[in-house]
């Protein structure tokens, strides 16, 4: 009796996973197979999509670099040192993950548009509102927690004794970090960079709020998809979507292969 119930459960559970997988494949396949290859190539070479690809690459690389520059030291600090209010800081740094991107975008718009600091930056020539710079900031704000969490768990997984040994062998604190801990964290760093970059390329909500959706100005791939969809240019919209799918698949592959023990 119990044996039969077990096999029912088995069939049900496996079917659920198969149905889910089939659903995902169907959705992706419908997009990729929608336009014939020729028209996909044509729109890929069109001025608008080329611009969107270029802008997406530029902004996502910039925001990923920014994430590495800032989130890596922050993650190291949180993993290695104890300080007053560490728990609060930990929670705050994870906050953008839970925040709807649109809300983050509104906040960024107010921060850079109306706050004194935003005005000082604007006067210094750093204009974030309705510019590509705004896209970079939006991507950074929304995706920084991914980098931070991956690097924090990576650093936590590396015994500080490696650094102790390095220091007794003649390294300063910084040299021990650069020559031992960072190379040991390279898989986490790669996984974090890939996930941050691919999330950055797909970032829409926050970027829409602060940078707007202006054709040929702040038009990244997701924005292009949105603009073309709204005015019925399905071919263009689909090619933007197809490119985004390929980027996601490649990133997922790299992440799974090199992410190792890193967890989000």
């Amino acid at each position: 009796m119990s044996h039969r119930r077990d096999s029912w459960l088995k069939v049900l559970a496996i079917s659920a996973s198969l149905v889910l997988a089939a659903f995902i494949v169907a959705v992706l396949f419908l997009i990729v197979s929608h336009s014939p290859p020729q028209s996909f190539l044509n729109s890929l070479l069109s001025e608008e999509i080329s611009f969107a690809i270029y802008l997406s690459l530029k902004t996502s690389v910039a925001s990923t670099a920014l994430c590495i520059l800032i989130a890596v030291p922050a993650a190291y600090g949180l993993a290695r040192y104890d300080f007053l209010g560490k728990n609060v800081v930990n929670t705050l740094l994870d906050m953008p993950l839970a925040l709807p991107p649109l809300v983050a975008g509104v906040g960024l718009l107010l921060f850079f548009g109306t706050s004194p600091l935003g005005k000082v930056l604007a006067e210094a020539g750093l204009v974030f509102v309705f510019t590509p710079l705004g896209i970079v900031v939006a991507q950074f704000f929304v995706n920084m927690p991914f980098m931070l969490r991956i690097m924090r768990s990576t650093f936590e997984g590396i015994s500080p004794r490696y650094e102790y040994v390095a220091k007794t062998l003649g390294c300063t604190d910084a040299q021990a970090l650069l020559r031992v801990t960072l190379p040991m964290a390279s898989n986490g760093l790669l996984a974090g960079a890939v996930i941050t970059w691919s999330k950055g390329i797909g970032e829409f909500g926050a970027a829409l709020m602060i940078a707007g959706a202006t054709r040929m100005k702040t038009e990244t791939l997701p924005i292009s998809l949105f603009l073309n969809m709204s005015c019925g240019q399905l071919e263009q919209a689909i090619s933007a979507a197809t490119i985004l799918i390929f980027i996601s698949m490649i990133s997922l592959y790299i992440f799974e292969r090199h992410g190792g023990g890193a967890c989000l």
Binding site: Y164, V165, A166, K167, T168, L169, T172, S186
Partner: protein
């Protein structure tokens, strides 16, 4: 000479309470103590990983209390090797020399010398995760001694290894020490390491050094109950080793004790111990296959509650544990003649 004066360090979980310690040049100090007694924090403080809250540390007359680890020339080897996994063995060993900007050809020369000494010259191009535990620990030791440190700190260096490898590496540590004449501080909870390696032993408990001295003194004359319970070695004798056929005789002040232990060098000074509960006591000679049987007289009886500790003089003094029932059945008192019998395999030699 390395000297610690009233060093106090509180890490919350572990603590050092006013530790004072003096290690002469070239001396091999073994620190033993139960888990959590502060052994590791002691050597990490010596290495400069933690700054003491109070107290001072001197190395060759120079105060190093606040000096950065990199400037101390004190190297460390951990139980779990801590080889850098992204570097091959050669680069691991060369790591410190490179950090100190030693010229390239001198690095090559010193690395090959150290790896030859530790028998790992054929592993230089391998990565740590492809090596066995023993090989990894050799590489870690090579990485430290290649620096020719003023003091070498070993944190349970043999504890993660299997019995045979441990034995081998223990002997190599001894010959490395006599070769390099480095001052060594070796933390362990393995008594055999104390006897085979230590010039001096220090027992730690609760963040304090409770006793220090030669191994013989600490093990034979524990100065407090904690040390006595912790070292827990009764019937410990020093003697000269004589090989007879496939077994071994230890001459302890004229008394020949037979052991099945192998591998001990002929004519060498050894320690032998017999656990009190492995000794049979009888009033007449026992007819058994046991190869050690000695007549003696009861010297002293100590009541431990459920068990009785009987000291018997057979030329040397043995301690035997009897149950209260067994003691009463035998009707023992001071001066009663008895026989002690134990198997050759009960005699532990180190």
């Amino acid at each position: 000479m390395l000297q610690m004066e009233d060093v106090y360090k509180d890490l919350g979980e572990f603590i050092l309470k006013n530790v004072s310690l003096r290690v002469e040049d070239g001396e091999y100090l073994v620190i033993i103590g139960p888990t959590g007694s502060g052994k590791t924090i002691l050597i990490e403080t010596l290495a400069g990983i933690y700054a003491p809250d109070r107290g001072k540390i001197f190395l060759d007359g120079r105060e190093i209390t606040k000096e950065a680890p990199k400037d101390r020339n004190i190297c460390m080897v951990y139980q779990d090797y801590m080889l850098f996994p992204h570097l091959n063995v050669e680069k691991n060993i060369a790591f410190g020399l490179k950090a100190r900007k030693v010229p390239r050809d001198e690095i090559d020369e010193r690395v090959s010398k150290a790896s030859r000494l530790l028998g790992i010259e054929r592993l230089l191009h391998r990565y740590p995760n492809t090596l066995s535990g023993g090989e990894q620990q050799r590489a870690a030791i090579a990485r430290a001694i290649v620096m020719e440190p003023a003091v070498l700190l070993l944190d349970e260096p043999l504890s993660a290894l299997d019995g045979l490898t441990r034995e081998k590496l223990r002997k190599e540590l001894k010959s490395l020490h006599s070769f390099y004449k480095t001052t060594v501080i070796h933390v362990t909870h393995n008594f055999e390491e104390v006897f085979s390696l230590a010039d001096k032993v220090a027992v730690m408990n609760g963040g304090e050094i409770v006793q220090e001295g030669t191994p013989e003194v600490v093990f034979r004359k524990p100065n407090c109950e904690m040390v006595a319970n912790f070292v827990g070695v009764e019937n410990l004798f020093r003697g000269t080793c004589i090989t007879k056929g496939d077994s071994l005789e230890i001459d302890v002040r004229g008394l020949r004790v037979v052991s099945t232990a192998d591998e001990v060098m002929e004519g060498g000074e050894v320690f032998a111990s017999v656990r009190p509960e492995e000794i049979l006591m009888s009033k007449s000679p026992l007819d058994s296959s046991a190869r050690n049987s000695f007549p003696g007289i009861v010297e002293d009886v100590v009541d431990n509650g459920s068990t009785m500790k009987i000291c018997v003089d057979v030329g040397i003094s043995f301690v035997v544990i009897l149950t209260r029932q067994g003691y009463q059945d035998m009707e023992l008192e001071n001066g009663t003649p008895v026989y002690l019998t134990f198997k050759a395999s009960s005699v532990h030699v180190f």
